[in-house]
């Protein structure tokens, strides 16, 4: 009897969050799947469209452009952040003492809203009056058009995101470095192995699980890259930064084709889920 009422109480404690999850997360996802099979009528109603939205998608050049931009931005940003993040982590790890102020400094980019990062980089990267071009020209380099150039907009966004998130990756990797058992270096010390060999043969392989974790966390955000693009370019110039997420949003809330937007969002969510599953498999492989 007491166990019974205890179970009731536990259920009651968990109930609000479970109901909230069902109403605000689970049900909306199912609803979006349903929407993705509908088309919007001129009067604003919905009509069953079968697989119409999905067959339109595979023939839509902007969809394939969105896939390309999404993955271009994803791989470029991920590579930069992992490389510089690991490097920065090693610098922090090797520093004898780390002033607390330095740690606050390193968390500042990724704790500020991405929208604010966008606002400030718009000013810094302004093609005619921005300080970035001033620095380039005073070094004797040609000025750049940055976000205004179709060819450079994705690398520029990757650079801004790398500025913002490299310290985050670094702090994750630093946690991994600090949890490595110190005795792994002993044999290498006795053999007198050079520094870089210790790094590539011992440290990095042992760090792989942490690196894959950092990859999972960054992948989830990078594949859904939204705020920074929407505030700076909204997908332009000439659709050169129109990721799947931006395209889906604009289809839904600027052109009000909710059904097609739903199909794009289901596709993007499947891509994110697929990436997480693949990376989790990889994490199990490199675990030690």
């Amino acid at each position: 009897m007491r166990a019974h009422s205890q179970k009731h109480q536990l259920t009651a404690l968990a109930a609000p969050s479970v109901i909230f999850c069902v109403a605000m997360i689970a049900f909306p996802i199912i609803y979006t799947v349903w929407i993705s099979f509908q088309s919007t009528t001129p009067t604003g109603g919905m009509r069953f469209a079968g697989g119409g939205n999905y067959s339109r998608m595979v023939q839509d050049g902007q969809f394939w452009n969105g896939i390309w931009v999404t993955f271009y931005l994803y791989f470029l940003s991920l590579a930069l952040q992992l490389f510089f993040g690991t490097w920065l982590a090693l610098l922090l790890f090797n520093a004898k003492r780390l002033p607390g102020i330095l740690r606050s400094l390193f968390i500042s980019p990724f704790m500020m809203p991405p929208v604010v990062a966008g606002m400030m980089w718009i000013v810094i990267l302004d093609p005619s009056l921005g300080v970035a071009n001033y620095l380039l020209t005073s070094l004797g380099l040609p000025p750049s058009t940055w976000l205004a150039s179709p060819a450079l907009v994705v690398p520029t966004l990757a650079l801004i995101d790398t500025w913002q998130w490299t310290p985050y990756v670094a702090l994750i990797v630093l946690g991994g470095l600090q949890s490595l058992p110190p005795n792994v270096y002993e044999a290498a010390e006795i053999d007198g192995a050079p520094r870089w060999k210790k790094l590539t043969r011992i440290t990095l392989p042992l760090l792989l699980p942490t690196l894959v974790t950092a990859m999972v966390l960054r992948s989830v955000d990078l594949l859904r890259f939204f705020d920074l693009i929407y505030i700076t370019t909204q997908g332009g110039p000439a659709d050169a930064s129109l990721t799947l997420n931006i395209y889906g949003f604009r289809t839904g809330f600027e052109f009000f084709q909710l059904g097609y937007s739903g199909a794009l969002m289901i596709t993007l969510s499947t891509i994110v889920l697929g990436a997480v599953i693949v990376l989790n498999k990889l994490r199990q492989k490199v675990a030690w």
Binding site: A95, I107, M111, P114, L171, A214, I231
Partner: protein, 277 residues
Amino acid sequence: MSTLSNPMSDRGARIANSVMLTIAGIIVITPTFWMVLSSFKQSFEVTAYPPTLLFTPTLENYATLSERTPFLSYALNSMIVTLGSTFLGLLFGAPAAFVASWTRVTWPAIVTLVARMAPGTLFLLPWYLMFRQFDMIGSYWSLILTHGVITMPIVIWVLLPFFDNIPRSIYEAAQVDGCSPAYVFWKIALPLVSSGLVVSTILAFVFSWNYFLFSLVLSNSDTKTLIAASFNFIGEGSTNWGGLMAAATLIALPPLVLATLVQRWLISGLTLGAVKG
């Protein structure tokens, strides 16, 4: 770790390490520094070319912000939505984390991770239709509820390890004494995880404050949050960089100050327990 290596090369490596770390620090802080600096420049100086480092600082940009834009009412909207959704996240998330820790049933917590992984527009499409049905678009409630989807998973995942750290013998002793789970939660467990509550409150606040997409669609001109109003500042900013940078500085201030307070727990909190900081 280096009794056998050459002390000279060791010293060289240490200096190189410090130099590179300093350069990294400068790269990290310079853009933010430039933003704050520009916000104190007068209008003719902020667009000066070549850019100036030395100038007479002015508060003019901050002062005109509330004259030229409804900055204060946007800030109030941000506060209402952020505090409301943080409270909602705690109200629902804290008991859920306690139950997950007590019963070791974690699937509800894992369901909330879906919200962390899926693109926001996936939820926004059905929410938009639902809230339109109930005539709630533009209401604070629609914003607080949707931001709750951001805050609740943070609260659950930050609190879970704190609850797990409570020795189970405490729960068992309380049960022997005839305490109900609700009593154990409220009188015993919650006071023991008070630092976890602080961390989860702050992180939930920061992420709700920073969140852009939902209020972009679900707010109207009366309930628009600061983040969603950024577009207005940028439109304004094409002629007034000083004002834009003052707005950006003020919007970034609350999350930056709060994040500094919980530095120690930041990484384990942000990675939802995937990484121990």
